[in-house]
């Protein structure tokens, strides 16, 4: 953790006034079940937000609404001033701006690592193959696995796969990155390499929303921590206050549970 602590200072970067994500009074139901309740959230460019909470609290569902992997029934979501509606053009435009990293990587097992990275630039951005491969290699170097470019995802370790998944998203040069429990499916030894990659992204000023249980990451990298329970945002604060002076009883209980051991 010491290494990370040193990094904090450097990444307490300026956060711009520009709002990139605006969620207003969003509600979502799965059938009759009310999963997200009156979500209101504004994210500025350059923010690093950690979303935590017990399982089933709706944290994943909330960030998956931001790129329309889940549909909301009420309220408004604006990403870069484009409203997310049923309009396919808007959805496509937003998905180009928003990258996502999943718990189970979701790499394409039938394609090589490099092809995983170049697929979307070639087919969505209509880039030439050569150009896409240059960019792909560039990002694979950034996540420190250029030597694996021609292997298949199934030949890599979990940590390596997750770094490929990050590189794959970055190849689309997104303005916002969503992380949905990126380290939850990893062996303890591999968590650090993925977190380091995320930290270096944060240092470069990427706007990030991370659903994670890595409280160390939250303390050092986040500028804001959001706590969710029962489908609602219960509390949000900057990390020091959040961890040292939680206000809500539910937050206190949650923190005592996860920080106890």
């Amino acid at each position: 953790m010491n290494e990370n602590t040193q990094k904090i200072d450097s990444i307490k970067l300026e956060i711009s006034d520009e709002v990139v994500i605006r969620i207003q009074d969003m509600n979502k139901w799965y059938g009759a079940f009310h999963v997200l309740k009156n979500i209101n959230l504004e994210v500025n460019r350059g923010e690093r937000i950690v979303v935590c909470g017990p399982s089933g609290s709706g944290k994943s569902t909330m960030i998956r609404c931001i790129n329309r992997l889940e549909e909301h029934q009420e309220g408004h979501i604006y990403v870069d001033d484009i409203e997310l509606t049923g309009n396919l053009k808007h959805i496509d435009a937003i998905r180009r701006e928003v990258g996502m990293v999943f718990q189970h990587f979701n790499l394409f097992p039938h394609l090589t690592v490099l092809d995983n990275c170049t697929l979307a630039p070639i087919w969505v951005k209509k880039m030439s193959k050569k150009e896409a491969e240059e960019i792909g290699m560039q990002y694979l170097e950034r996540v420190k696995i250029p030597e694996q470019a021609l292997k298949y995802p199934g030949q890599l370790s979990g940590g390596q796969q997750q770094r490929v998944a990050i590189a794959r998203s970055l190849c689309m040069s997104p303005k916002i990155m969503l992380f949905d429990e990126p380290t939850s499916a990893l062996d303890p030894e591999m968590i650090k390499e993925v977190l380091d990659t995320m930290i270096s992204l944060a240092e470069e000023g990427m706007t990030m929303i991370c659903v994670t249980h890595e409280m160390g990451f939250a303390k050092t990298v986040a500028n804001r921590v959001i706590f969710m329970d029962g489908g609602a945002i219960i509390e949000q604060n900057e990390p020091n206050n959040f961890f040292d002076h939680p206000q809500h009883e539910r937050t206190k209980l949650f923190l005592s549970q996860i920080l106890a051991h």
Partner: protein, 432 residues
């Protein structure tokens, strides 16, 4: 650590333990026998019974089919030796078995089409990287040369105009040379054949263009007809089946309902019924004077029937693809069709290769059912020939059926082997 009382428990195995040879009884021939044939008293008895059965049946089978069989001469040779296979039957009638009643002076048109088919398939089934290695390139080259010589001589023998023989040579050899040098020659030629070949067959066999005389489909017959039906079914069923499978899994209720109804209807009726309906009932409903070709009706029936089966096979593959793959693709901004075409289908189809090829093989053999609507396919051409009075010999029908079975087996086994090869080649998911 500092607890001296417990240091006895600390064990470090510093030296690696070297491998030793396994005991004789588990390896080698003796070990194999023991494990596979004589592992218990019961199994030993079964092994002995099995060996006796083989010793009793195999020699007589070999004698009947090979050693005592009639390989040359005419019907008389078989009449003299009725207790063994009569292969000269196939030898004397092979033209009928292959071409049916197709105009004798025009049979070279079938030769041309078969030539392209067998050379094309031989080329397409060999992988690009393997093709360039020494023994494979030689074998493939030889195979293509031999097939070409056989069909070229057949074309000449069947009186093909010189121009057509030269055109066929140029097309076949030209395509192979063109595809040989390309980086993805195999798949490019494959795609070209997939779309161009049915068109080539249609115009070459049917005629009516380029100075080729028209030949009614009722004159088509034999193995060439079987291939026409099988290839039509195969080429049509995969794309239609994929669309139906996507339709059945669609979010749109109407599309889903229509696809489901279509699949369940065609899957629920026997192929014989389909063929009967197409042949006898469709004309009753059709307006006066509208005359849809009999073969065409059968082809449509077979294609729709096999599409329904294919749809269910493909749907099985689609269900095996995790939601994560869709989400990964969507999060990158891929549209529905790109997601399906680039991410989902390649994986789903790979999983169901055995099922797809199984459907192809089933379809290939089911083409023999068209004999009940009076089409003269391979099987019925052999049956027809065996009723010829000159050949009314006891061994002839048996020999005929074995011949049919052998030819079918060759083609089906070829497909099965190729599917196995594809599975091995495409297996990237768990390769370590």
């Amino acid at each position: 650590m500092g607890d001296n009382n417990r240091t006895n428990y600390g064990i470090v195995n510093a030296k690696p333990i070297a491998d030793r040879d396994a005991p004789i009884s588990t390896t080698g021939f003796i070990g194999w026998l023991r494990e596979n044939l004589f592992s218990s008293v019961g199994n030993s008895i079964l092994t002995i019974i099995g060996l006796l059965f083989i010793a009793y049946t195999v020699p007589s089978i070999l004698n009947w089919t090979l050693f005592d069989a009639v390989w040359s001469g005419g019907a008389d040779a078989c009449r003299e030796n009725p207790h063994a296979a009569c292969w000269t039957f196939a030898g004397s009638w092979w033209e009928f078995f292959l071409y049916g009643f197709y105009d004798r002076t025009q049979r070279w048109r079938i030769d041309l089409v078969l030539w392209v088919l067998y050379v094309g398939v031989a080329f397409v089934v060999v992988d690009d990287d393997v093709r360039k290695t020494r023994p494979t390139s030689t074998i493939l080259g030889f195979f293509i040369a031999i097939v070409s010589m056989v069909f070229m001589s057949l074309m000449i023998q069947h009186g093909a105009p010189v121009m057509w023989t030269m055109a066929a040579t140029l097309i076949t050899v030209g395509l192979v040379i063109w595809a040989w040098g390309l980086p993805n020659g195999r798949s490019r030629l494959g795609l070209l054949l997939l779309f161009a070949y049915p068109v080539l067959v249609f115009f070459m066999l049917g005629g009516g263009v380029l100075g080729l005389s028209k030949i009614a489909t009722s004159d088509w017959g034999g193995f060439s007809l079987t291939l026409v039906i099988a290839i039509t079914g195969i080429v049509a069923s995969l794309p239609i089946g994929i669309l139906l499978a996507l339709g059945r899994r669609s979010d749109m209720p109407v599309l889903r309902l229509v696809s489901t109804l279509f699949i369940e209807f065609w899957r629920g009726v026997p192929l014989i019924t389909v063929l009967f309906m197409a042949n006898f009932m469709l004309p009753l409903f059709a307006p006066e004077g509208a005359n849809i070709d009999q073969l065409l009706r059968a082809l449509i029936g077979v294609a729709l029937f096999s599409s329904a089966y294919m749809a269910e096979v493909v749907r099985g593959g689609l269900q095996a693809i995790s939601k994560g793959q869709y989400e990964g693709a969507m999060s990158l901004g891929l549209s529905y069709w790109k997601m399906m075409g680039l991410i989902v289908m390649p994986q789903a189809l790979k999983i169901v290769i055995p099922g797809i090829v199984n459907t192809f093989i089933g379809l290939f053999k089911d083409t023999t059912l068209v004999l009940i609507i009076g089409l003269l396919d391979f099987l019925s051409s052999v049956q027809t020939a065996s009723t010829n009075p000159d050949w009314s010999i006891r061994s002839v029908p048996y020999s005929g059926y074995i011949f049919v079975a052998f030819i079918f087996w060759l083609h089906c086994y070829g497909m099965a082997r190729y599917s196995q090869h594809l599975e091995d080649k495409l297996n990237t998911g768990h390769k370590r």
